[in-house]
Symmetry: C2
Subunit: 322 residues, 2 copies
């Protein structure tokens, strides 16, 4: 039996908020698997499926699945065909999500360790429920007076998503052609001007968080690779790419309070929460729903999409389009 919202701890309520799709939309079952080369890579909402059905030479919209035309031969052909449709949607104004078009692509894969099947502009991935991967750096200071303090950023008012919201010190998506550590180093330089000498000495991978969020833009099954970075007491981050309005150093306990505020970017809460848990600021003795909370910081995104076209053929005898 699921706990009712009323009886939950406020941390568990927050974990339900950033997993709103995992805990409700997914169960409703009104999204269809998005299948490429016989492998499920995403989920498509009914409103998106209706638009995709306008391009039957690219998307085969069946009653129970949306399939990328299996006649496309390879990564490049798939990527080009999808891109052409997405640019049509962008011109039409069919989806809010595409207002954030980036000319920056994410890989589409059946699982993180599998070969990419195509690439897609990052703004469009939420229309198909494609798993997104990002990198986040928890910048912290061991302050003699205030104890552990955490650097947070306030996003620029001009950002396409979550403008003006509070966020982790440094974060960025994993684009085509960039490694994980490489992305962390690039973002640390661009967003916070952190010298390479500090990064080389102190940047430490510390795991990952996974959650499944839904907004009016679409579906966000996100995995964030997290890094911890101890910074010198006198270091002050300084933005160099115009994406950050300001930085703020807060004692860890105050950072914990901040993530409940409406001006904190919802999809960055898991990263801060994971950091505070790993460093002892949320303990199982003080948080009655600790195991549930940890589960909701690591939802099983890699095993969520396990439908294969093969099993569908076996189940249904054949594939009929609607």
């Amino acid at each position: 039996m699921a706990s009712t919202t009323e009886s939950m701890s406020r941390l568990l309520k927050l974990a339900h908020k950033f997993n709103c799709f995992y805990l409700s939309g997914l169960q409703k079952g009104d999204c269809r698997p998005f299948v490429v080369e016989g492998q499920q890579v995403g989920l498509v909402r009914p409103d998106v499926a209706a638009q995709l059905a306008r391009f039957p030479e690219v998307f085969l919209v069946h009653s129970d699945v949306v399939e990328l035309n299996p006649a496309f031969r390879d990564y490049n052909e798939r990527s080009a065909k999808v891109d052409a449709v997405l640019r049509r949607f962008r011109t039409d104004g069919a989806f809010i999500a595409l207002k954030g078009w980036r000319e920056e692509c994410y890989e589409v894969r059946a699982a993180f360790s599998k070969c990419p099947l195509l690439k897609m502009d990052r703004s469009a991935t939420c229309l198909f429920g494609i798993r997104q991967y990002g990198v986040d750096i928890n910048g912290y200071v061991l302050c003699p007076e205030r104890g552990m303090c955490v650097w947070l950023q306030k996003r620029a008012a001009s950002k396409q998503t979550w403008p003006g919201k509070l966020d982790n010190m440094v974060g960025g998506g994993l684009s085509v052609g960039f490694g994980i550590l490489e992305t962390a180093l690039k973002e640390a330089a661009e967003e916070a001007s952190i010298p390479r000498s500090i990064l080389d000495q102190k940047l430490t991978p510390a795991g990952s968080v996974s959650f499944f969020f839904e907004s009016e833009r679409g579906l966000f099954p996100n995995t964030e690779f997290v890094y911890d970075l101890e910074l010198p007491l006198d270091f002050v981050p300084n933005n160099s790419d115009g994406e950050v309005e300001s930085f703020e150093l807060l004692p860890a306990k105050e950072a914990l309070d901040k993530i409940f505020a409406p001006d904190f970017k919802t999809t960055s809460c898991p990263v801060v929460l994971d950091f505070l848990i790993r460093h002892g600021f949320v303990s199982p003795d003080s948080e009655p729903e600790f195991p549930q909370l940890i589960e909701l910081l690591h939802v099983p995104l890699q095993s969520l999409y396990n439908r294969t076209q093969k099993s569908r053929r076996l189940e249904n005898g054949d594939i009929s389009s609607n």
Copy 2:
């Protein structure tokens, strides 16, 4: 599509080993939910169900569910009735698991944050697939020459489970009447004679791991609350309760190699692995299946048992025993 065993990284293979029930047995579906007061609290294998059916005044063994007699009024009555049956099984020699009878009970709950419904000897919980909770302490040293080093223990040859195997420095189950931190402090004193002054200053909660293991003894859905403890360079743990044969200090990288050895207690691997991930010794750039690995360190045990007697009544109209 699941990766084949051959193509997996060795860390992912290990994660499959300590999740052998989660990844195979659970899917087979030959275990029946164990229901108490309308709430699923565990799973019962066919061999166990057959034995439970000998005591129909205590266990109602239906074709699709095993139910504790709902006529039992409260925690005490349920605990006493189950205990009486288990002591009969113990005398009979019906189950290997009960050779490890402890006279130490674990709570049985629908979820960690829910009220206990009954208590049961810890040796018997694996017969019912009851979620077990434990506490583990990662003792480490920041060595000037060798970098981060980790203390491991070799279990005493006389231990009822996993005798002579390598294990975390300190670990223990969460028994009835003991808090999480309280258990950590007790076990640190008993198993490794760690002075209270060090624990008060340095013991830090650092999250939890969850996995679902199966052995010939039964089913183990385990959540371990993990603590990190930085120890002084000159501190040497010393066992005081006869449960540990020896302790060994290893560089973190060697500890990573140790967990692949057959003489490492399988169900302690997740704790060491989580520690090494959190401290940067396994990174997403070096481990291609990092997201899958993290998922398998945090399988969703709290949401696994979600069958309620109410939904069963609605589905089937009524409850019929077989």
